[in-house]
Amino acid sequence: MIDFVGKKHWFFLISAILIVVGIISLAVFGIKPGTDFAGGTSMTLQFSPPVEQAQLREEMANLGYDKATIQNAGEGDFIIHVTEITSGEAKALAEKIGTELNSHARITDYYLASPRVGAETARNAGIAVIIAAVAMLFYIVWAFRRMPKPFRWGTCAIIALVHDVFIIVGIFSLLGWLAGVEIDALFITGLLAVVGYSINNTVVIFDRIRENVSKHISTDFAVTVNSSIVETLGRSLNTSLTTLFVILALFLFGGATIHYFVLVLLLGVIIGTYSSICISSQLLVVWEKREWGALLSFAKRAG
């Protein structure tokens, strides 16, 4: 039997590294807000014949849009985010760029959001994530109300959830720096869906721990938890695998509009599966056995 609980310190270490890297990236590079959050205009330009991103960037700078975010969406498409311009101005801009680059540029997707709504959207998105976390905490506490200390179960699941969110946001901060990837309303949508999915996985394992505790399969809580993880391992991996099949197909063939939305889902399923197998239940054990001190000394040794 694989000892998932025994290796918990290593899992915690891996997660800590991922989270710290994410936080550093957030602090240094921040996160690129998309049109939904920053306001302005974003549009998808389709060039035929195709042009180089560097050429486009140069031309945009020549026309005074040196602060524009340009993202390559593949197949000759570019997604451009600039300060607010009307659809008429956008059309003129596209024509101009097309002529200058000896190509023809067509706007296939034009989106304008008032700068004022951006702040509100960001606030609402934040509220949504917090409400989701609190609602799920309450739900898990309720679902495990017959267990001793149900609040503990809920907290551990939520820590795993926050862990997932931090890692994904960190990765997108890095992607923003490397590839100009922006965060929009769909990112938050994906994040919340992933949060639901990750908790879903955690609950299945917790459910098995609940069952095994009432069956008294071992006097050692760590052993009970580990057998629960191992017993549900087939299910955890298979479910994630089947979900990954469809998401991966969407990621590879689904087109540019939802590319990064699907990436959130993809990352979320992988990280969510990892955190439910390797983090949430282990936290439960640490808490149950009051091993917080041991955890700290391990951290010191590893550090």
């Binding site: 659809s87 609402n124 949504a128 919340l192 549900t232 998401i247 197909a249």
Partner: protein, 449 residues
């Protein structure tokens, strides 16, 4: 056993009905044809305007916004756009109006139409044409229009019970009306709404003959009650200025910027068609892989899962068509994701059944225990997804991004249906197969004994 037969009949009937309603997709079922596609899939424009209602007393705002909606509807219909969706949204005391225009090419023209304030204009005949009737007040030539109506118009009935739309002129209006009706006695005075003549119940333009000079008040006859009520609402809205635009912050204070939308999105129809094609390809490949995996890994139960997934897909499509659910690109992702998650319930059950088989139970007992024990996990775990969907649905309502709601809705429906599929369909099919004792070889269930 008989219970399973009834369930099987129910499942087959459900499947048959669903299949019949979606093949072909444009079959007319309960008045629904084809799937309703969002703007990102079929191309089109989406506009959100805020309304400046500060000049209107709070109690009347709801009614007036309904009037504004009517005005916009009428104007857009006049442009010949099929199925525009117009909705008034009220949030924290602020009103906004969201307009979806599927497949429109000329967004500039649509915006122009939306921005105008609704007015009834009185016109007189000039040979063949109808030209605005004007008079001179304080040395200025003015057109007689509903701009000079006093307070709100209202509906009354004459002695025969026919509806009348009553209006009163304000001071300028009185001057103008006196001059114009005095000049046009014995001639017709037509009423125009925008560029279109106002038509009565009989379909003819309303153009009464002026019999005497009118100063204070007038009435419009010949409208149906419904039209009169709508027109009254329109006028009450058009008369009182409700500028559409957006609030912006300028030097710390809120300023209303007219005619510029809060959100505007236009998706090219070719991009939409491309997105549909790509989604279908992605869904096809993803689901094919998934089915293959289920078959290879779970053998016979896997086959049963594939069958119930097939039923699941068809029923879900039928629900999308019949509700109808507007499919957006993220919505399609939600749909595909829900197929992946629908497998989850089956996987939970099969893994549990395998465990029970390894534990030495008989086939029938193992399946029953598998289902019963897996149920709590299926229920508890899906509820978290429901919570996420409900919060997303709320969030989507506060956004200009109509796509968020599409995702939340399809995922919610998908997950709910997946629970039903696993518990009712997969279970019934498996019970029937085991009960019939056609397949008793354990390797068919993926267990070595």
């Amino acid at each position: 056993m008989s219970r399973n037969i009834y369930l099987l009949i129910f499942i087959l009937a459900l499947f048959g009905f669903a299949l019949w309603s979606v093949v072909p997709l444009d079959r007319n079922v309960f008045g629904r044809q084809g799937l309703r596609l969002g703007l990102d899939l079929q191309g089109g424009s989406y506009l959100v305007y805020q309304a400046d209602v500060t000049a209107i007393e709070p109690g009347k705002r709801d009614e007036i916004m309904e009037g504004v909606k009517g005005v916009i509807e009428r104007r857009i219909n006049a442009l010949g756009i099929a199925e525009p969706i117009i909705a008034v949204q009220k949030q924290e005391g602020e009103y906004s109006i969201a307009i979806q225009l599927p497949g429109i090419a000329d967004i500039e023209r649509a915006k122009e139409m939306v921005g105008r304030v609704s007015l009834l204009e009185f016109r007189e005949q000039d040979e063949e044409d109808w030209i605005p009737a004007t008079g001179t007040v304080y040395g200025e030539e003015l057109i007689l229009s509903s701009k000079y109506f006093k307070e709100n118009t209202y509906i009354d009935v004459d002695q025969y019970g026919r509806p009348l739309l009553i209006f009163e002129w304000d001071q300028t209006g009185q001057e103008l009306s006196e001059q114009i009706t005095g000049r046009l006695i014995g001639e017709q005075l037509a009423i125009y709404l925008g560029d279109e003549p106002l038509r009565g119940e009989d379909g003819h333009p309303i153009a009464p003959v002026v019999r005497s000079t009118i100063r204070d008040r007038g009435q419009i006859e010949g409208l149906s009650l419904v039209d009169a009520e709508e027109l009254s609402r329109l006028l009450n809205a058009g008369r009182i200025p409700v500028p559409l635009g957006r609030w912006v912050e300028e030097e710390g204070s809120e300023v209303f910027e007219p005619e510029i939308p809060l959100y505007e999105r236009t998706v090219d129809a070719t991009l939409g068609a491309d997105s549909i094609q790509k989604s279908i390809l992605a869904a096809g490949i993803g689901i094919a892989l998934l089915l293959l995996f289920m078959l290879l890994y779970y053998r016979l139960p896997g086959l049963v899962a594939c069958l119930s997934l097939g039923i699941y897909g068809v029923v879900l499509l039928a629900i999308f068509k019949l509700v109808p659910v507007t499919l957006t690109l993220p919505g399609v992702a939600g749909f595909i994701l829900s197929v992946g998650m629908a497998v989850d319930a089956n996987v939970l059950i099969f893994e549990r059944t395998k465990e029970e088989l390894r534990g030495g139970r008989s086939l029938g007992a193992a399946v029953e225990t598998g289902f019963n024990r897996a149920w709590t996990a299926i229920r508890d775990s899906n509820i978290t997804t429901f919570i996420a969907c409900i919060i997303l649905f709320w969030l989507g309502g506060t956004l200009g991004a109509f796509m968020v709601r599409g995702f939340a809705l399809t995922l919610f429906i998908g997950v709910a249906l997946s629970m039903f599929t696993a518990i009712i369909i997969t279970r019934t099919l498996l019970r029937l197969i085991i009960g019939s004792q056609v397949v008793t070889n354990m390797t068919a269930y993926g267990v070595k004994r």
